[in-house]
């Protein structure tokens, strides 16, 4: 027999457990609707995955865990989500929270991807503990003893775990849910313990703690523990031995440090119900959708445990147990010591609901009015956490938070033993709970006010910095102005000695003049800058020439002469500008060729010049040649495609395309044959590197080309172009008039000139026609 230690303090309370263990765990007919609160655990609310009106199947995930400390919820049966709204939930505040309302369709059909049997893991030992932890997390399992802390988080402790304790104590009166589970499903519980041990890396000790008022459960479990290292430990019944810290103390004599967790002393504690749920999740693949809940109290005709679907309204549960509402002044969820009153029969059963207590007024009378504390010290004897309840009561009343902190109020587990033994009927726990709430709120406010202070101080510092920067700038400007003034004054003194009266009057004007002179000086003094400017101009001109060239290249061979003429004119224009810039550059270069850096700099523009020139020279002919080459290529491709094509319509289409391409090719070839003649002159003068001469040559070529045309055609072309230009000029004039531009006069004269030219050309044309 293992040595057990005594519970510190504690009280004997009437157990009242026999009423609900007479019959086995029962099931209830499906309720009309299920109300499933989104948050049934401690931690972050899960992420909703379904929408209103959606059809769901049994076991379907309704909300998945969001964040580390979180748990999801699943559909307890198949049906339709009729509402997602705020609904009263089981909470001492009686407040409403977000809930899903599920109308069961009666089919109770499991989600398809997982058949009822085959969906669990056959041998969990083939999977890593991490995988199993993930399954537990996804199954929405949270501590079912009452706290509702996500089980996966508890099991993934960072500290090495030497002891696993399964809490089968169930010390509160009336509650028998874990007792019945142990009696009826011992094999599954032992299986669950083995899974937990595997996840925790096989701790040295595995203990099941059980009070000596549950001999049936002890006998039921014992045979399954024969060949295992699991130890079943029985100890004296005393409230509250089922508290996690108390149970650890009883079984191991270790004390969980103040503000710490059991994992800090190498212990993990799990509830019987949770162990069972873990087993179902791993081996049957069943998420947490139902739990065993005790329905008891004299206001109910039958007292019994039920396997209840999560979300079942309490009213439904009580209805099937002959609940007499008139007999029951208050309905309690949980036990009589730590439970809380429910205001509404529509409140659903959640993952942490281990008991619904419907007592009569005699069974659980309203406490009589509190009387003054007589300092008897009975509460201190009963306290399982070794606190001084009477001192805490004193400080809680006077809201002396410092002293409460010093007396370790937060180690109070709110078991209610002190209130139970108090001869003055002081609701001590209620004082502690209120004081804890106040202190938590103040701590939160302190954090936020500290943050506000930090932000305010940062804000102030930033503002000061900005102000200082502004001030510094202003100072600098002031100083500069003063210096300039002083300098001006000094200059004045130097140039007009003794002329004090004139100096002050003329100083601003002088300043302006000086500045202008300085600018001029700077321009003169820096030929580099000028050269830079010129170079920029050249590159601009070059790019312009190129773009025009491109346009020319892009022109269809069928394009009208007029278009080509325009393009050529543009090129000439650009060329002229280029030349101008180059000449300037050359002029600038002459005085500064002495320095080596200058010469290297000057080499770049000349090379650029050359490339441009080459391009210009080569352009029309080469462009044509290129065009012919690409056309030939395309024809080749099309022919290949034609050969490959098997569809009749495609063939004809391709044939059409090929024909067109061939005509284009012919045209281009013809043009090429003509071009050399036209361009003989410019290409024949390779030595003349000068762009201007090229332009002249080009112009000559054009003239010769025009000469090949008949005079009449020429005239017609010129008339046409003149008409076009006139139109354009008129348009410009009207727009200029509309805008009231300054250049209206220039536009007008331009239009008049063009008209004169046009009439002259027309008359000549008429004469020629005659």
């Amino acid at each position: 027999m293992r040595k057990v230690w005594d519970l510190i303090g504690g009280v004997h309370v009437p157990e009242n457990k026999h009423q609900s263990v007479q019959s086995s765990i029962g099931t209830l007919p499906m309720p009309k609707e299920l109300v499933i609160p989104l948050t049934q655990h401690i931690g972050a609310p899960p992420k909703l995955l379904v929408a209103e009106g959606e059809k769901v199947l049994k076991g379907q995930v309704l909300a998945e865990p969001k964040g580390f400390v979180s748990a999801g919820v699943h559909a307890p049966t198949s049906g339709v989500i009729s509402a997602i709204s705020d609904h009263p939930i089981p909470h001492p505040s009686g407040m409403a929270a977000r809930c899903l309302t599920l109308i069961p369709d009666g089919e109770d059909r499991w989600i398809e991807t997982k058949g009822t049997e085959a969906k669990g893991l056959e041998d969990y030992r083939e999977h890593s503990p991490e995988e199993l932890l993930n399954i537990i997390r996804q199954s929405g399992i949270a501590g079912m003893g009452g706290a509702g802390f996500p089980t996966a988080v508890k099991l993934s402790a960072r500290q090495p775990i030497s002891t696993l304790i399964i809490n089968g104590t169930e010390c509160e009166p009336y509650i028998t849910a874990d007792d019945m589970l142990m009696r009826e499903r011992p094999q599954e519980i032992v299986e669950g313990i083995k899974i937990l041990a595997y996840i925790l890396g096989e701790p040295d000790e595995i203990l099941i703690g059980i009070e000596d008022n549950k001999p049936e459960a002890y006998e039921a479990l014992e045979p399954y523990l024969k060949d295992t290292n699991i130890e079943l430990v029985e100890f004296q019944t005393r409230y509250p031995s089922g508290g996690e810290k108390q149970l650890i103390q009883i079984l191991t004599d270790k004390e969980v440090p103040n503000g710490g967790l059991p994992a800090d002393v190498g212990i993990v504690c799990q509830n019987i119900g949770t162990t069972y749920a873990v087993k179902r999740a791993i081996q049957q693949g069943e998420p947490l959708i139902s739990r065993v809940t005790t329905v008891t109290g004299k206001a109910c005709q039958t007292n019994r445990n039920y396997q209840v679907l999560i979300g079942t309204p309490i009213g439904h549960l009580l209805e099937h147990n002959g609940f007499d509402e008139s007999q029951c002044p208050r309905l309690v969820m949980g036990g009589p010591m730590m439970g809380f009153t429910l205001e509404d029969l529509n409140i659903p059963v959640v993952k942490t609901t281990n008991c619904i207590l419907a007592p009569t007024a005699e069974e659980l009378p309203t406490p009589p009015p509190a009387q003054p504390c007589i300092r008897c010290g009975m509460c201190a004897e009963a306290c399982p956490a070794s606190l001084l309840p009477q001192q805490l009561f004193w400080y809680a009343q006077s809201q002396n938070h410092e002293r409460l902190e010093a007396h370790s109020l937060f180690d109070c587990i709110e078991c209610g033993a002190c209130s139970y033994v108090c001869p003055s009927n002081i609701p001590l726990v209620q004082y502690y709970r209120a004081a804890k709430g106040d202190m938590r709120k103040l701590a939160q406010e302190k954090i936020s006010s500290d943050r506000a202070r930090e932000r305010f101080e940062f804000h102030q510092a930033r503002k000061e910095k900005e102000e200082a920067a502004k001030l510094a700038k202003r100072e600098a400007r002031k100083k500069a102005a003063e210096q300039a003034r002083a300098k001006a004054a000094a200059n004045e003194d130097g140039s007009t000695e003794g002329n004090v009266s004139g100096k002050t009057a003329s100083s601003p004007a002088d300043d302006i003049i000086k500045a202008a002179m300085a600018r001029a000086e700077a321009q003169k003094a820096s030929p580099e800058e000028q050269r830079e400017k010129l170079k920029r101009g050249i590159t601009r001109a070059e790019s312009h020439v190129e773009s025009v060239q491109k346009r020319l290249d892009g022109l269809d061979p069928e394009a009208t002469d007029k278009q080509r003429e325009q393009a050529l004119a543009a090129i000439e224009d650009a060329q002229l500008r280029l030349n101008d810039a180059q000449q300037k550059l050359a002029a600038l270069k002459l005085p500064s060729t002495r320095s080596a850096s200058d010469s290297s700099m000057s080499s770049t523009p000349s090379s650029a010049e050359k490339t441009v020139m080459e391009k210009i020279k080569a352009s029309p002919k080469e462009a044509l040649e290129k065009k012919i080459a690409t056309l030939k290529e395309r024809i080749g491709v099309t022919e290949e495609k034609l050969a490959e094509a098997d569809d009749e319509s495609l063939k004809t289409a391709l044939q059409n395309g090929l024909d067109k391409q061939q005509t284009k090719l012919k045209d281009a070839e013809q043009q090429l044959a003509e071009t050399p003649n036209q361009l003989e002159a410019p290409t024949a003068t390779p030595e003349t590197e000068d762009a201007a001469s090229v332009a002249i040559a080009r112009a000559q070529a054009k003239v010769t080309a025009q000469a090949s045309m008949s005079d009449e055609d020429k005239l017609k072309a010129s008339v046409e172009s003149l008409q076009n230009r006139l139109k354009k000029a008129q348009k410009k004039l009207t727009s200029a008039e509309a805008e009231g531009s300054e250049h209206i006069d220039a536009f007008r004269t331009g239009v008049e000139k063009l008209q004169a030219k046009l009439t002259a050309a027309e008359t000549q044309l008429q004469q020629d026609a005659k």
Partner: protein, 218 residues
């Protein structure tokens, strides 16, 4: 040595005293430099007790300036957001009588409010951003602004400069997370509320109102 002291007791005492004063003076002077306390700790202590809303209702541009003013002798009842609790705490710290809140600077309210910008109406003028003492408003010129709820102290300073009046001070929504247990009713209240309960003989004799009267008299 003894002879000299015995012969000139007066001058010997003088020399000894001067010597001691020089030594202690040096020690104290050194300590004053070596263990110099930076800043004014009382200001920091007062600042810690103030609610840090930075609302300026006290007439100072923030909580710290008011803390400095208190340290320099200003009255301690000018902080409506802190209310009586803050006044009591400061009175405790400074060991003075706790006055009641000066209504001239505003009223204490139980409901914590926070600024909300009606975002559709915001024209993006950045005036509220400049007014916010804790940089809790996000936004840029000609773009919508919004309040970082978790950082807002509810100081109210952004409401005034808004040219289109699109900022509301709304009470903070109370959820399950804010809920806490109430203190149990005092025995007197319990007795008044539950007069039907059978009490012991002595309680029955004395009426509840008599009892409270008696307490007052005492």
């Amino acid at each position: 040595m003894y002879d000299i002291i015995a012969q000139n007791p007066l001058s010997a005492a003088l020399v000894a005293l001067v010597g001691l004063s020089v030594i202690f003076g040096a020690v104290l002077g050194y300590a004053a430099i070596k263990f110099k306390v930076e800043g004014d700790p009382i200001v920091a202590q007062i600042d810690k007790l103030l609610p840090q809303t930075q609302c300026g209702q006290c007439g100072y541009p923030g909580c710290r300036p008011y803390a400095e003013a208190i340290a320099n002798g200003d009255t301690i009842n000018k902080c409506p957001p802190g209310g009586q609790t803050t006044i009591n705490a400061i009175a405790d710290l400074l060991d003075v009588e706790a006055p009641t809140l000066d209504e001239e600077h505003g009223e204490e309210s139980d409901v914590k409010t926070i600024a909300y910008i009606r975002e559709d109406e915001c024209i993006g003028c950045t005036k509220c951003i400049q007014a916010c003492p804790v940089d809790a408003i996000l936004g840029a010129a000609k773009l919508m602004h919004t309040v970082i709820v978790s950082e807002c102290t509810g100081c109210d300073l952004c409401v005034e400069p808004c040219p289109v009046d699109c900022i509301d001070m709304l009470p903070v929504a109370k959820g399950l997370g804010d809920w806490k247990w109430d203190m149990p009713a005092s025995p007197e209240e319990q007795i008044n509320g539950l007069s039907s309960i059978n009490m012991i003989a002595t309680d029955k004799d004395s009426d509840a109102s008599d009892k409270t009267d008696g307490d007052k008299a005492a």
